[in-house]
Symmetry: C2
């Protein structure tokens, strides 16, 4: 944008390369308890640096797509998923993030619905991990995931983001399970329902969820609007 008045030595150095990465969250039932827990897909690095380690899905920025489009494309290419929520997380630009070159990564975070997540591609080099049980990742990706988790918890407490981890129809107990999984603490069912019903974000449907060994819960539908990032300018 600002035509550079850079001196010769600055110009001779290669420009910092620009990459897009994505932290993708989805709910999957825990093997042990069966309750929904947070999972995310990682890709195995097949070249140096950090060859063999797991890393966030990402790639270079193409010239013909916006940042968000690049994140969505990359997300689809590595996992086969279409996100129900996608938001910019942060631009990471520390000097020594990669040992071989200076890289600036613009990181997005995404939520995918469980129906989608069940169909996700998984292979030798793409695998899902529990968000609270990651090993050592490549680059600074552990710190990035930590920050994405912090952001998710924040958005959950204030915004109306939980519904993007669920399908179109859901019970209030399912919403509560999302909160309990993300915030990692139990919530009182009666109080939680009272709070949810005071928001304008959801509406009752006439349907009930059958099949449980208990009173069938009413199904609800999300009617709220997504947040208002600079990217998503489609608001009231």
């Amino acid at each position: 944008m600002y035509s550079s008045s850079a001196n010769v030595s600055e110009r001779q150095a290669a420009p910092p390369s620009l990459a897009i990465s994505t932290v993708i969250f989805a709910l999957r039932p825990s093997e042990s308890s069966g309750r929904p827990t947070l999972w995310l897909p990682l890709v195995r690095r097949i070249r140096e640096p950090y060859k063999g380690l797991w890393a966030l899905p990402g790639g270079p920025l193409s010239h013909t797509e916006s940042l968000q489009d690049a994140a969505a494309r990359n997300l689809g290419e590595t996992t086969g998923l279409a996100p129900s929520y996608l938001e910019q997380l942060y631009a990471f630009g520390g000097l020594h993030r990669s040992p071989t070159q200076r890289v600036v990564s613009i990181v997005y975070w995404a939520l995918v619905q469980p129906t989608e997540a069940a169909l996700a591609d998984e292979s030798e080099n793409v695998r899902w991990f529990r968000a609270d049980r990651l090993g050592d990742l490549a680059f600074d990706h552990n710190a990035i995931v930590d920050y994405a988790l912090w952001r998710l918890r924040n958005k959950l407490a204030y915004g109306s983001v939980a519904y993007h981890l669920l399908g179109e129809y859901f019970t209030l107990a399912q919403v509560r399970e999302v909160y309990e999984a993300v915030l990692d603490r139990q919530l009182d069912p009666a109080n939680f329902r009272r709070q949810l019903k005071s928001t304008p974000d959801i509406e009752e449907t006439g349907e009930y969820l059958q099949g449980g060994k208990h009173r069938p819960p009413r199904l609800y539908r999300f009617t709220g609007r997504p947040g208002l990032d600079p990217d998503n300018r489609s608001t009231p």
Copy 2:
């Protein structure tokens, strides 16, 4: 210069250039009412595109500095100021932000204390404007300022960011004036003081501010910690 002479194919081959810009807020007394209001410095563009229009201070990213360092340096170079608060705002990467080339701008926002702001450089090509009375700016900078204002209001309501617009010692009424200027509405003095005193962010001093034509208010000091960005990892 590759930017102006590039044809389509050359342009697609060149990597998107990466720039750093900063939205700098400071309080200055309004000429009319005398009450503190939000101001920010802009620089006049001296070349195309948008030659002659006002724009946010910014420049290219040097290879030897982190994103935040680049923002701080740029801030100092254009205004002579040292910020008391500096946080990443957003990475703007739309395809047509600049008519001549693809530019990704990583934008920071900053707060400077009034003692600093009074000494700020001002010249033919650097001038301060009231944040609520900007004209048409270059590029997408109007939208960027709008988003920075939204973020400032948000951080003010939740976080403890107001103190960075004040000096080391301040009265509770001065804090209230900051809130009133940023949120643009009157606040009850008694209720506001009750809320502030319930936070652990400030502490009383033994000093009082003399010179008003009324009961001298007690001076307070900020003791809280700044937020916890990925960049600022110096927290408890």
